[in-house]
């Protein structure tokens, strides 16, 4: 499956990825609207949090608005979504996002835009075996 792999040891905390992501998704430069999140880790410098395409949210969605495409990427269909946020609650990595500006949750779809812009090479689109 296709996913965004992170290398936190390379991350410099520049937040370029968050800026790229929120601009692409929401046309706004807003950290709260980025699918990927960079935060300070007192021990290792920075941590990177982003969807690992584990699909846990797919079964939880009551309106079957969350599906997996042929590349293994988990997608939210905004037309079908009824905004319950059960997917946000169930996400084991806390990578399904929600923001008060919109009803629907949002998540990383492994588009790779952030990886292209990351000056430190801390992000990479990879294809891995589906563990399921």
């Amino acid at each position: 499956m296709k996913l965004l792999k992170t290398y936190k040891e390379k991350c410099t905390g520049c937040h370029t990825c968050m800026s790229v992501c929120s601009k692409l998704y929401f046309k706004q430069d807003s950290p709260e609207k980025s699918c990927i999140r960079v935060s300070v880790d007192p021990e290792s410098g920075f941590t990177l949090n982003v969807c690992n395409q584990c699909q846990r949210c797919v079964a939880e969605c009551p309106s079957m608005a969350i599906s997996v495409n042929k590349l293994g990427v988990v997608l939210v269909n905004k037309t079908l979504c009824i905004g319950c946020l059960a997917c946000v609650a169930v996400c084991p990595t806390h990578s399904m996002r929600n923001h008060h500006d919109q009803i629907h949750p949002f998540k990383c779809i492994a588009c790779g835009a952030c990886a292209k812009e990351c000056p430190a090479g801390a992000l990479e689109i990879v294809t891995e075996e589906d563990p399921t």
Binding site: A59, E60, C61, P62, S63, M64, C81, I82, G83, C84, L85, A86, V88, A89, V90, N98, H100, I103, H104
Partner: protein, 722 residues
């Protein structure tokens, strides 16, 4: 699954359009439409009624609106089958939000064939929320149709149609599929259809229930949720209604147009997270639903066994939660409304039926829930899970309440063992304990309107009179063992050792169900409410608090079938204070009002007292109506006494200072029963006092003034009884 192929064009060709009405589509605002829908299926009048500010203030919504509309529709002489009796379905301001778990309930009220007073029964499924978002806070159906009828409400087009429907099925599992085939124009639209229907059992029995459907997208099949109690399905079929159908496709994450959506989402998300992280260690609702209660009740001697004689049985483990978990199709959320992560609505797929008109069919069985397992399983000594499932399925599709069917079948088996019934009197049915074939055959006879089935289907209260009159049975004994109050069969918990729960069952507005108060653990197990005043306080608070769910369109389960991790450290943990605060938050977030807990309880208390006075108006609702059968209060036979003799002997010594040594079981039983009768009288006194009622159980004028419910009609009525 057995597939049914329907010739929908042929079915539709027999329809005759009787009436059509268009309405202005208006979005819900702040949780309300501020209008209700009235349909008379005899005169074919269809009209909209405004919800006044006064109605909103006094009755809040949901069950409050239902009762208000029903009050205005009926009179003192109305019976269940009077044309003016109504089926009212209402939702409530919080209903239909997709953010907070358990927000999809609607409430059905009618004058009950079993109790002759208003019954209210809450139900999941999509009909209520879709009806609300179509434009109405409540629906009244009055009159009796002249032919079999379907009412169709299209919330997308703003269209209502009444038409005859001679050839559609009556049984719900077939009819539900026909309705979705008929009204969905494509696969995508199937999820936007929901119907209400009963079944052939409701044509003949007084214990008829209503099935509210929802389309299960994963199973690609219709699911059924029941408004079970008190004969709503019987009234429905008496009106010659086959189905109410609604279509609505505009559901969104803010269909209520909440005043503060973010606050609603934040509170909902908090509970979602709590459920996801704690349910597996708490009630396992997500994997087992209410079936998780079976072994707990058995462990505490609370599981009804053999018509409530006992509270435990060695074979009860055959019906334990882990058995059902293997039957249920797991790993998918089985919620009856969108956004309910508690997801307790489990189902069994591909269940092959062994009896009846659908023998050999492979079907979906919705449930079984705890009440069905207790009633149609342990209480009848049926410990075969396949048999319980089959009874569950047929009850649903025939439109029969599993609780009443279970309790009345247990009563019949008790009568059979005691020689009141025999094969001749039952028309050949050998109603021995555990005989599931006989129980199912009885149900098929109810559905066919045949012989003894017609008598049994009318419930325990009717049968008591019939058996005394026709068979010369001992009226006192039948009164002792007939587990009903006001005519409604008791739901499936043992109340013998909890005086507070005896009140929780029988000092209620509609009869012994468990939706007002469940106090057994507080009272019997943890001894938290030892005095009469303590018990009375609990029997004031919990029924009032829990009425609020019905006013709002909420499910009770996410209140205390999941608890915050630190709940036990909170003051009054039995009230689950954080969740109570959540409810106030979501109500305020949706409606834009700013109520606190005091006002929340007042909203409920107004409607609770209104319902009590409604009972009074219908000739009931007084002290004499609030007594349990003696078996709900303790042992009534020597056999029962001896089964727990150590417990009862100890009670004689410790509570009555009576030495049991040398006394016969009959003597000890007599003393114990007299003591428990006296205790119940004292409980009634204390509860009425706490509720602001007279010693006869009538709300006082002063109390009505205090709670802001001194409406002229009510004051006039209660004054006659002060």
């Amino acid at each position: 699954m057995t597939e049914h192929r329907f010739d929908i064009p042929a079915l539709k060709s027999k329809h005759k359009l009787l009436a059509e009405y268009t309405f202005e589509k208006r979005p819900v605002k702040l949780g309300y439409n501020m209008r209700t829908l009235y349909i008379n299926i005899d005169t074919l009048e269809i009209k909209e009624k405004p919800v006044t500010m006064e109605m909103k203030k006094k009755f809040t919504g949901g069950k409050g609106f239902d009762l208000k509309l029903l009050w205005d529709a009926v009179n003192e002489t109305t019976t269940w089958d009077s044309p003016e009796n109504e089926i009212c379905i209402a939702m409530g301001p919080v209903c239909g939000n997709t953010n907070y778990p358990g927000s999809g309930k609607s409430i059905v009220t009618t004058i009950s064939p079993q109790t002759d007073i208003p019954i209210d029964s809450n139900v999941g499924g999509h009909f209520g929320p879709y009806l609300k978002f179509s434009g109405f806070d409540a629906l009244e159906i009055q009159g009796k149709a002249r032919e079999e009828t379907i009412v169709y409400i299209d919330g997308n087009k703003g269209l209502i149609q009444i038409f005859t429907a001679p050839d559609e099925a009556i049984d719900s599992h077939i009819l539900a599929e026909q309705m979705v085939d008929m009204f969905a124009e494509n696969e995508r639209e199937r999820q936007h259809i929901s119907s209400v229907s009963a079944g052939r059992g409701a044509d003949h029995a007084w214990i008829g229930c209503l099935n509210f459907t929802y389309y299960d997208k994963r199973r690609k099949a219709m699911r059924l949720k029941q408004a079970g109690r008190g004969g709503t399905g019987t009234v429905f079929r008496n009106k010659r209604l086959k189905a109410l159908v609604v279509k609505y496709s505009g559901l969104s994450g803010d269909s209520n147009q909440a005043a503060d959506l973010e606050a609603l989402r934040r509170t909902g998300l908090k509970l979602h997270k709590e459920i996801i992280s704690l349910d597996a260690q708490q009630c396992r609702m997500r994997s087992q639903g209410t079936a998780h209660l079976v072994e707990i009740m058995d462990d505490y001697d609370l599981l009804p066994v053999m018509n409530f004689r006992y509270g435990q049985h060695p074979e009860a483990k055959k019906l334990a939660s882990w058995v059902w978990e293997k039957y249920f199709t797991q790993n998918i959320p089985d919620g009856c409304w969108f956004g309910c992560t508690l997801s307790c609505a489990h189902a069994v797929d591909n269940f092959e039926l062994r009896t009846g008109p659908y023998k050999g069919h492979k079907v979906i069985v919705d449930g079984p829930e705890y009440e069905t397992i207790g009633g149609c399983g342990s209480n009848t000594a049926i410990f075969d899970p396949d048999a319980v499932l089959e009874i569950n399925f047929y009850c649903d599709t025939y439109g029969l309440d599993t609780i009443s069917f279970g309790t009345l079948t247990a009563f019949l088996m008790d009568c059979y063992e005691n020689g009141i019934l025999d094969k001749e009197r039952t028309g050949g049915l050998e109603m021995t304990w555990g005989n599931w074939q006989a129980a199912l055959e009885l149900m098929h006879r109810i559905a066919r309107g045949e012989g003894f089935g017609l008598i049994a289907g009318k419930g325990i209260k009717y049968m008591q009179g019939y058996f005394v009159h026709e068979f010369g049975a001992d009226a006192k004994f039948l009164k002792d063992i007939g587990m009903h109050g006001k005519g409604l069969e008791q739901s499936e918990y043992q109340s013998k050792e909890s005086l507070a729960q005896q009140g929780g069952y029988y000092i209620t507005n509609k009869g012994p169900q468990h939706d007002e108060a469940w106090l057994i653990f507080m009272d019997m197990v943890n001894n938290m409410i030892p005095t009469f005043e303590n018990k009375a306080e609990a029997l004031h608070y919990f029924p009032v608090f829990r009425t609020w769910f019905g006013l709002q369109g909420l499910c009770k389960l996410p209140w205390n079938d999941i608890e915050p991790a630190n709940n036990a450290e909170q003051p009054e943990p039995n009230k689950v204070p954080e969740h109570v605060a959540n409810y106030i938050d979501i109500y305020n977030a949706i409606t834009g009002e700013k109520i606190d807990k005091t006002e929340m309880l007042l909203q409920s208390e107004r409607v609770y007292n209104f319902q009590r006075i409604f009972n009074l108006r219908m000739g009931h609702g007084k002290r004499v109506d609030d007594y349990p059968p003696d078996r709900a209060k303790g042992p009534v036979t020597e056999l029962e006494y001896e089964s727990r003799s150590e417990r009862y002997d100890k009670q004689l010594q410790e509570k009555l200072n009576v030495d049991p040594a040398g006394k016969s079981t009959a003597e000890k039983l007599k003393i114990l029963r007299a003591y428990r009768d006296d205790q119940y009288e004292k409980l009634l006194d204390a509860v009425y006092k706490r509720r602001g009622w007279t010693n006869e159980g009538v709300p006082t004028v002063e109390h009505l003034k205090k709670i802001g419910m001194d409406l002229p009609q009510l004051v006039e009525l209660v004054r006659k009884h002060q």
